[in-house]
């Protein structure tokens, strides 16, 4: 099977379309960064508190908001993450000002109390009973020992027995049911009948569970932001140096410009869609800088090889031919990586959504830019040199290759 059989596309003839396309997308991104959504930063960089709560049924954002407001937590933001609606998760975000330096987890504690007060299904009596959706393993074991439903007394045996049953409940809840129990009855078979009876009488299900908490103080956020900026710059510089070393400076410059173009469009896509940039998104962008270089190298390698073979051919034709010769390679390699990244985007879960989104956008743009930005830049550079009356030939290579 072959996707492209001897293609003869005039890529450079379409360079104005490419330029227009690139300009539209990068300008749209930049406009959004400067004037619209700005750069939506994740709690990693911005600082603040994010609590991820999962509910037993589809959460009602207004109800959550009223619970949080009643607790006096100001400016809380309530987001339902993208993805399958059946997930029933909500992110509750507090700004940095509500995250005080001395009592950093005040906000988290506030959210949890507000929710548990608001979601007690029956009445105040629930306050004193065990909330099986939020109880910790050690607390459950201690509770069982104290109530001793199997009448084992205060022995070491009883301790291990109750501990193992508490562990079983936690495993059932967390590893098999995503942290939320359907009903106390569903524990039948997980624990001994006597324990089940005790739990049926003295526990309840609040119908929500705190899945993760992230609290970042201003200081740490600033340091991380600085680190991320440095890492991105070092990455680009590293690429420039490597391509300079392997090819010629102009190849390196062309490749880095293409990479920079990819980075801007990818970051712009985050701003346009108002998705938050987190540490893992930065990781994805750095990976893209390395990966989108790959296609560019494949094309450049061929240009260099062809330059050595036919020095008479006009550069524009030669670059066209090189792109066409490597087209199936470029499209296949990116396509296959895109396939895996798409699988990550669709099935990899909410936590990695930003990461996989960056890769999905970045791989598409990276492939496009290898053909439409990096290679034409070489031609443009040579035209510019020709106009200035310098030697026309593009340096083929520093050293001969096998």
């Amino acid at each position: 099977m072959e996707l492209f059989h001897d293609p003869k596309i005039d890529w450079l003839g379409k360079k104005w379309y490419f330029l227009g396309f690139s300009l539209i997308f990068s300008t749209a991104g930049l406009l959004s960064i400067f004037f619209w959504h700005h750069l939506p930063l994740d709690v990693d960089f911005r600082g603040g508190t994010v609590v991820r709560v999962k509910f037993a049924s589809h959460p009602d954002a207004d109800r959550i908001r009223s619970a949080i407001d009643t607790a006096g937590l100001k400016d809380a933001r309530i987001q339902e993450p993208y993805g399958p609606a059946a997930n029933n998760e909500v992110l509750i975000t507090l700004s940095l000002t509500a995250t005080s330096q001395s009592a950093i987890d005040q906000g988290r504690a506030g959210i949890v109390t507000a929710l548990s007060r608001h979601y007690s299904r029956q009445s105040d009596q629930d306050q004193n009973r065990l909330d099986l959706d939020n109880v910790s393993g050690s607390a459950l074991a201690a509770w069982l020992q104290q109530n001793d439903p199997e009448h084992l007394g205060n022995t070491a045996d009883a301790q291990t027995r109750y501990q193992s049953q508490a562990d079983a409940v936690l495993h059932f809840r967390d590893a098999e049911h995503s942290g939320i129990l359907d009903s106390v009855d569903s524990l039948r078979g997980v624990v001994d009948p006597a324990v089940l009876t005790a739990l049926q009488q003295n526990s309840w299900l609040s119908g929500f569970s705190v899945r993760s908490v992230e609290i970042v103080g201003a200081q740490v956020g600033k340091v991380l932001q600085h680190q991320a900026e440095l890492a991105t710059l070092y990455s680009l510089a590293g690429m420039l140096v490597y391509l300079w070393f392997r090819f010629e400076l102009i190849y390196g410059v062309a490749a880095v410009v293409a990479c920079f173009h990819d980075t801007i469009i990818t970051v712009g896509a985050f701003s346009l869609s108002n998705q938050e940039i987190s540490l893992t998104v930065i990781a994805a962008i750095l990976t893209l800088i390395g990966y989108s270089m790959n296609d560019t190298i494949v094309v450049f390698d061929r240009i260099r090889e062809n330059l050595r073979l036919s020095r008479r051919e006009p550069l524009a034709d030669l670059v066209n031919r090189s792109i066409n010769q490597t087209l199936s390679r470029t499209v296949l390699t990116s396509g296959l990586t895109f396939l895996t990244v798409l699988s990550l985007f669709l099935f990899g879960g909410e936590v990695l959504r930003g990461f996989s989104f960056a890769l999905v956008v970045g791989i598409l743009i990276g492939t496009y830019s290898s053909i439409a930005v990096a290679a034409p830049m070489l031609v443009a550079y040579q035209d510019w040199r020709a106009r200035r009356g310098k030697a026309a030939a593009l340096p083929a290579a520093k050293k001969a290759r096998v």
Partner: protein, 539 residues
């Protein structure tokens, strides 16, 4: 040629066996659950998959410096008195500068005495210079100061390590956090009683005995008035817990001598106990012998005066000194609970933190989110892998089988490497595995496309294979280097989960150099050696 292929096949099988061993070691059986358990034992999961707590703490090292200079102020005072210099005021005039001591109002006829006393004893640690009026200033030398700060950080790490060990946290990580100054990174996997853990870590557990100058006062305002509007430099106002003075007494304020009689590092042992009279829980503590001697002398000389026991800047207990006390004491009152008594004894035993601690960052991942993440990561990997496998089979037919085998071996080596190296697999790390699948197969595509091109140019299959691998090799190295450079920068700059991503991606791509170039070539050669010369291959 044949034997050559056989040797290379043996190498591949050996590598396969070694890395499969790295993944599973010796499992307790071949059932699904036994294998799963074996994998989990060998591959370390990060906090984001296992659940647990990640903290960044700031050690307020200035407090350690301040405590040190407080002692210096006291010893300068006694040195001056011993040498007959009266009237000089030793103080730390600027509350924001812990490293700065001033000796003011030096009597003019003693200027030289003061100078020689200061220079004899303190010049190794302080820069001494004359100040305005008849005064001298001592500024702690920067090297001394940074050493003291580093010592405070090291002590804090050690204390937190001991404390988390007594909590029974398995495999905790407690180390200096390199991105900040005097910060500590704490990772506690599988912790589910967060409130208690944080209390245990954050408690300074600084237990001190102070002389009571005045009190009790009902609030800070009246304490300030009683002290004459401002607190003298050698004293401080401290609040008490309820019940500190006597049974049922309310929260009140005391004016205490600033320099403690003994302090945090003077505790030798502490045990939970019960008050013999009331049966209430209490902490019994014992002083080291040096501190005990000092305390004995001081209590002997101050019979009838009030003494306060202060824990973490709150007065716990105030008592009249009835006789000489040597090395024993207890903390009770304030409705202290059994659990608190247990924790507090442990804290006192493990020693005080040299300075208090702020939480800068806290990330907690519940076990249910971790379990879901693993599940989703595995599903995404399998779907991605199967999609790539099918595509390669359809597109390259026979050679596709070759690529699929190489890809499979690539994954085995990657996971085996994770098992051997003890590197941590995080959620972004799983994403790194998925990306390895996608990027790993790229090398095969580059080689196969080149082989097709050579075949189209009319070369024989074996020559085409030869040329294909030869020409694609440099390109493959180039593409790997760029991605690995990116990953290396991520590894250097990244933290926790992101580091895990950099690790799997780098291992994966390194393994890919072996599988896509060496393994794939052997399979081609083995295949070609069974064909007649010039017979077409399936690609």
């Amino acid at each position: 040629m044949k034997t050559n292929i056989r040797t290379r096949l043996l190498i591949i099988i050996a590598v396969l066996v070694v890395f499969v061993f790295g993944i599973f070691r010796v499992p307790h059986g071949l059932s699904g659950s036994a294998l799963k358990q074996a994998v989990l034992q060998n591959i370390h999961l990060g906090l984001d998959l296992k659940g647990g707590m990640h903290l960044i703490l700031q050690v307020k090292v200035d407090e350690a410096i301040s405590a040190e200079t407080d002692t210096d102020v006291a010893s300068i005072q006694s040195d001056l008195q011993r040498n007959g210099v009266n009237g000089a005021v030793v103080s730390k005039p600027d509350p924001s500068r812990a490293d700065f001591i001033q000796v003011a109002s030096v009597p003019p006829d003693h200027t030289n005495d003061v100078r020689s006393i200061l220079e004899n004893t303190y010049s190794s640690r302080f820069d001494i210079s004359p100040g305005v009026g008849n005064s001298w200033t001592l500024t702690m030398k920067p090297t001394v100061e940074s050493e003291a700060k580093q010592r405070a950080l090291d002590q804090a790490i050690e204390v937190i390590q001991t404390r988390t060990n007594t909590l029974g946290v398995s495999e905790p990580i407690i180390e200096p956090y390199q991105l900040g100054s005097y910060q500590i990174l704490v990772e506690l996997p599988g912790v589910d009683d967060l409130g208690r853990v944080k209390d245990v870590i954050q408690s300074t557990a600084r237990l001190e005995a102070h002389e009571v100058i005045g009190g009790p006062y009902p609030d800070q305002q009246s304490a300030l008035q009683a002290a004459g509007g401002s607190v003298p430099p050698d004293a401080e106002l401290i609040q008490s817990v309820p019940g500190a003075a006597s049974e049922g007494s309310a929260t009140s304020w005391y004016e205490l001598r600033k320099i403690p009689v003994w302090g945090g590092t003077d505790i030798r042992d502490a045990q939970p106990g019960h008050n013999p009279n009331t049966g209430e829980p209490e902490v019994d503590f014992y002083l080291t012998s040096a501190a005990g001697d000092k305390f004995g002398a001081w209590t002997g000389a101050n019979i009838g005066k009030d003494m306060a026991i202060v824990l973490d800047n709150r007065v716990q207990e105030v008592a009249v000194i009835k006789g000489q006390i040597r090395d024993q004491g207890n903390i009770s009152g304030g409705g202290i609970s059994e659990q608190r008594v247990k924790d507090l004894s442990m804290l006192l035993r493990t020693g005080a933190l040299p300075a208090s601690i702020d939480f800068l960052q806290e990330t907690t991942v519940g076990p249910s989110l971790g379990a879901d993440s693993i599940h989703q990561g595995v599903v995404a990997s399998i779907v991605g892998m199967v999609a790539v496998w099918i595509f390669m089979l359809v597109y390259y037919k026979g050679a596709g089988v070759n690529a699929d085998l190489a890809l499979f071996l690539n994954l085995v080596i990657l996971l085996g490497f994770m098992g051997f190296s003890g590197a941590t697999l995080t959620l972004p790390g799983i994403a790194g595995v998925i990306l390895t699948i996608g990027m790993g197969v790229d090398s095969n595509v580059l080689i196969f496309e080149r082989i097709r091109e050579e075949l189209r140019a009319g070369k024989s299959p074996s020559a085409a294979v030869d040329q294909g691998f030869g020409h694609a090799w440099t390109t493959i190295v180039d593409t790997h280097v760029t991605t690995i450079v990116s990953a290396a920068i991520l590894f250097i700059f990244g933290t926790g989960p992101v580091k895990g991503f950099a690790v799997t991606l780098t291992f994966g791509l390194l393994a890919n150099l072996f599988t896509a170039v060496f393994v794939s070539r052997v399979i081609f050669d083995a295949h070609l050696s069974r064909k007649l010369h010039g017979e077409p291959i399936s690609i």
